[in-house]
């Protein structure tokens, strides 16, 4: 999976991200939305709210509740995925919610709910990280006050090499996977999970690589928002605010 030149099976260097396309405001009926293409991953996120919460027993009297639903489309993987929510989807919904919650200033909207819907249209590894990036952009697009945008990236180990932004094969056959989400300006980690084994030195190296990657993604997020809102304020609506960045 790593050749003699130190390149990965898809031709990337160990510290190289897949190409990322970000687009904000893609859903007409959502309050905020975003679309991310990270390599072969294609994910769309929509935010609805703050709105009245139902059922009422979920009310939090001093802040807004945040609900998140991550879903993979049946056609998103090689083999058809059963459309019913799986254990994995329920778990990923929970970790995405917990990764985003520290960034949302939910105390401005007590007794309401902010709903986040994430649809993975095409999956190729690292969808939870890509979903966090898209959902954070969608929250900002909905006008919800945030401490900061959350950026996320996975790191891992393949054949003894620490690599960044694992795709499906590396995820499956690698020795470790470490998805990380953080608020780069405040240096706050909001998600960290680990599969497999890493030594202390490898972990430190992987963590630093993830920080660097998250900072790059954060810049792309800023650019995506600027593209939408700066162009909108110039009276002309963008025909296509998509931009590919490597």
């Amino acid at each position: 999976m790593i050749d003699d030149k130190g390149l990965r099976s898809d031709g990337r260097r160990p510290d190289e991200l897949r190409s990322i396309k970000l687009q904000v405001g893609v859903l007409h009926n959502a309050n905020g939305s975003a679309y991310i293409e990270q390599g072969k991953n294609k994910i769309i996120a929509g935010v609805y709210g703050p709105r009245e919460i139902h059922p009422k027993h979920l009310i939090i009297s001093d802040r807004a509740a945040i609900r998140c639903r991550y879903r993979m489309a049946p056609f998103s993987t090689d083999e058809r995925k059963h459309p019913a929510p799986s254990r994995r989807e329920i778990e990923i919904s929970k970790v995405i919610r917990e990764a985003l919650e520290p960034s949302v200033l939910s105390e401005y909207y007590p007794r309401t709910v902010i709903d986040i819907f994430i649809e993975a249209l095409q999956c190729d590894g690292g969808t939870r990280c890509a979903s966090i990036v898209a959902a954070s952009l969608a929250l900002a697009d909905a006008g919800i006050p945030l401490k900061e945008l959350v950026s996320s990236c996975s790191v891992g180990k393949v054949k003894g090499h620490v690599i960044v932004d694992l795709y499906d094969l590396e995820d499956k056959y690698g020795e470790a996977d470490l998805p990380i989400a953080l608020m780069p300006n405040h240096n706050l980690v909001t998600l960290i999970q680990m599969d497999g084994k890493l030594s202390k030195e490898e972990f430190d190296k992987a963590f630093n690589m993830a920080l660097e990657a998250c900072r790059k993604i954060r810049n792309l997020q800023n650019d995506a928002l600027k593209r939408k809102y700066k162009l909108e304020s110039d009276t002309e609506k963008p025909k296509d605010s998509k931009e590919e960045v490597k």
Binding site: E52, L105, P110, G143, N222
Partner: protein, 184 residues
């Protein structure tokens, strides 16, 4: 120094650093951590070097009931002293999902009203003002002249009531009813 030269605007996104507390007083749409002022929203950061303030003029705000705002709602439940209003429009924005507000009899009319059913009845369209949103509970008032019932229906037959001089009369069953009407 003139105001024009004192105010500067810069596009910011959530988490953008816009100054330090030694420079500016943190205003709306900002927050402060360890003496550094950050933006909460997407918008233009307005720094006023004359008054030493910084605030964000957001590009987008969620549609949310705010104190002092005017709403259009549908009366859902009427009790003796309280009515529950389903808010369907805030200002000029139509909500995709309604909020629930409460209208108490004491804030419903400038005159004394014994029972809330003299003010409004279920299914009435009502214009009201938000007097408080503390604790996320939306309290409404209709005691101003331009506030009150806009469209109402007969309690007997359900036909729309029409205003005949000062009373509301049903054209179909000739029933006469009382409401707190908006002036227009």
């Amino acid at each position: 120094m003139s105001n024009k030269t004192a105010i500067k605007e810069k596009f910011v996104v959530p988490g953008s650093k816009i100054g330090v507390i030694e420079e500016f007083i943190a205003g709306q749409g900002t927050y402060e951590i360890d003496g550094v002022i950050y933006s909460q929203r997407i918008g233009d950061a307005r720094t006023d070097s004359k008054y030493r303030t910084v605030s964000i003029r957001p590009k987008i705000s969620p549609i949310y009931p705010l104190e002092g705002g005017e709403i259009i709602g549908v009366v859902e439940v009427v009790q003796e002293k309280l009515a529950v209003i389903k808010i369907i429009k805030i200002g000029n924005s139509v909500l995709s999902k309604p909020f629930t507000g409460f209208l108490h009899i004491s804030a419903s009319s400038p005159q004394y009203a014994k029972n809330m059913r003299e003010i409004c009845k279920p299914m009435d369209r009502i214009r009201a003002k938000i007097i408080s949103t503390s604790g996320g509970i939306i309290r409404l008032m209709t005691s101003d002249h331009n506030l009150g019932v806009l469209k109402t229906f007969c309690s007997n037959c359900g036909y729309q009531l029409s205003l005949k001089r000062t009373v509301l009369k049903c054209e179909r069953c000739k029933n006469i009813e009382k409401r707190k009407l908006a002036r227009d």
